[in-house]
């Protein structure tokens, strides 16, 4: 399934033993949970947290956990694009010839990478964005949007009244993940042998063309696995913005836990949901890698 793995899969004795041990382990955990954990299980509650009947139309509508899931997906999507752009820019700064650009790149990466994400979000949101967001005026724009234009706005960005926090969260996450992407891109560019630079130079290409046409395509290919890794971890890291009142999946779940007291049903479901988002992404990236690897 993965590149370079051409041997046919065989199911041998070792696999049977490993599977049996795993099943035993799982059974033991379930047994432990049942005997030592005092808890009234009620899985019946879970579907109603995702789907509700709209009291006005009588049809089905997404409930809060589904809304939280959509917010997480939107958040990850925009922050992923932002992180890729910031990462590329800073990564190129890191390998630039000019000392100024190198200092900027290095400074950015070291500051962001060596500060805990939680503190970064707190500082960025409460000190920076509360000053910047009113200046941009997107909050007012969203608030005064005509009724017939609201649907596309809410489809793209969620609740229009909470757009300030959402945009701030996207920028925060993009800046944060951008620093890691920058390091991946830098290492990718530096892993390209000198000969490639020299060969491209001997063709008479400018530095910009050498970077764009020769070095970067190879570097991106070399860095595909860590980049994919970073994107998947972005999906999970996005839950830290719940601290700044962005109603994403983890935040909605913790609210639901408080209301319903169904701690384990809800957290197990949320864990499974994150897995269901991240696993297909892993498969997708593995596929892309295989394609570009050829």
């Amino acid at each position: 399934m993965w590149p370079g793995d051409e041997r046919p899969l065989r199911f041998g004795l070792v696999d049977v033993v490993v599977l049996a041990v795993l099943a035993g382990l799982l059974g033991w955990i379930v047994w432990l949970a049942n005997t030592t954990l005092v808890y009234n299980w009620n899985w019946g509650i879970v579907p109603s947290l995702f789907v509700r009947t709209d009291p006005e139309t009588g049809g089905l509508a997404p409930n809060f956990l589904a809304e939280g899931l959509f917010t997480t997906l939107r958040l990850t999507f925009y922050a992923g694009i932002g992180a890729a752009l910031i990462g590329l820019l800073i990564g190129l700064c890191r390998v630039a010839n000019g000392l100024f650009f190198r200092l900027v790149g290095r400074g950015y990466v070291e500051v962001v990478r060596n500060v805990p994400p939680l503190i970064f979000i707190f500082i960025f949101y409460f000190f920076v964005s509360s000053q910047i967001m009113p200046m941009i005026g997107i909050g007012n724009y969203a608030r005064n949007l005509p009724v017939d234009e609201r649907w596309w706005f809410e489809l793209l960005f969620g609740d229009r009244r909470r757009i300030d926090a959402f945009v701030a969260a996207v920028i925060c996450l993009a800046m944060f993940e951008g620093a890691y992407v920058a390091e991946i891109i830098r290492s990718g560019i530096q892993s390209i042998p000198r000969g490639q630079w020299e060969a491209a130079a001997s063709l008479g290409l400018s530095r910009f063309d050498r970077m764009r046409d020769v070095i970067l395509p190879q570097a991106i290919r070399a860095t595909a696995p860590p980049l994919a890794n970073q994107f998947i971890s972005l999906v999970k890291d996005s839950s830290i913005v719940s601290l700044i009142a962005v109603q994403e999946l983890t935040f909605m779940a913790s609210q639901t836990v408080v209301t319903t007291q169904r701690t384990f049903e809800i957290w197990l479901t949320i864990g499974a949901l994150y897995f269901l988002i991240c696993w297909p992404l892993s498969l997708l990236f593995a596929r892309l890698e295989k394609k570009t690897g050829r």
Binding site: T36, F64, F122, F126, R161, A245, S254, T259
Partner: protein
């Protein structure tokens, strides 16, 4: 000589004129400041925006999500009536408890109405209105200690573990009243009571009505050893500092609604009855 006198007089008039102008200027400035303070008040911003933005943290039965994902609870009733009386819409911003005061200060919402009890420490950072609710802490203890606990002093031992919600009033209370007991802190009360049910902690201290609800849900695991309510606290709305107009408005709104019985009636409904329980997801 006359010349000199004239010059002196001139100087005096000039001085007097300067004083008058200066005084008038001072008056004008004072008026400007007053207008600026009134104009900057969050009350003006709310009226201009047409909506009151309320920060809160979910907590039963103050603010909870119902089956349809709508917020219900005592606080929701209070904030809704408050906005209604101001003639504006109400918007709720559910926020993690740890971030709720920074979010108020940075302007994410106009006011915190979230069962926040008045403490001097918090009051250094935010302004509090008059209280719109009073509540107390109750102790709920594991059945393992049945018969052995008749007062707080029986729990003040190094081998007694108490689970509480982080950053809330019970922490302060436990540290003062039970200095010898071991304290475990959790993000929410549900995790704290779970720790007792699992046998890793001996008691939970929390604001009513949660302890009574736990005792009712797990009657063979936990019980309420004594009826005392501890460290009765006053819950108030929290506002940004430096806004006397807003403080005056919220204070008087609360005073009016104590007198007309609205606050007491709603409080009784949410804290004394269970009529709302079937609105929750189940």
């Amino acid at each position: 000589m006359k010349h000199l006198l004239n010059r002196l007089l001139d100087r005096r008039t000039a001085l007097a004129a300067a004083l008058v102008v200066g005084f008038a200027g001072g008056l004008a400035q004072a008026q400007d400041t007053r207008q600026a303070v009134a104009g900057d008040s969050v009350i003006e911003q709310i009226k201009q925006r047409g909506s009151l933005i309320v920060g809160l943290s979910t907590f039963v039965p103050w603010a909870m999500l119902d089956k349809n994902g709508e917020l219900i609870g005592y606080e929701i009733d209070v904030a809704t009536k408050l906005a209604e009386d101001m003639g504006v819409e109400v918007e709720f911003v559910p926020t993690a408890w740890d971030g709720i005061i920074p979010a108020l200060i940075s302007g994410t919402f106009d006011v915190i109405i979230s069962g926040m009890s008045v403490t001097p420490q918090r009051n250094l950072t935010v302004n509090f209105s008059e209280p719109y609710s009073f509540s107390g802490l109750r102790v709920v203890v594991s059945r393992e200690h049945e018969g052995a606990i008749s007062g707080l002093e029986d729990m003040n031992r190094a081998d007694f573990t108490i689970a509480v919600r982080r950053g809330a009033t019970p922490v302060t209370f436990a540290q003062q009243a039970l200095p010898n007991a071991r304290l475990l802190q959790f993000d929410e009360d549900g995790a704290a009571i779970q720790e007792v049910l699992n046998g890793n902690a001996d008691a939970v201290i929390a604001s009513e009505p949660s302890p009574s609800a736990y005792a009712a849900e797990y009657p063979d695991k936990v019980f309420i050893p004594f009826d005392d309510l501890f460290s009765v606290t006053a819950e108030a709305m929290a506002l940004r500092k430096g806004d006397p107009d807003a403080l005056n408005f919220f204070n008087n709104w609360i005073a009016v609604n104590w007198r007309n019985g609205f606050l007491e009636e709603r409080h009784d409904y949410w804290f004394r009855t269970q009529g709302w329980a079937d609105q929750l997801p189940q």
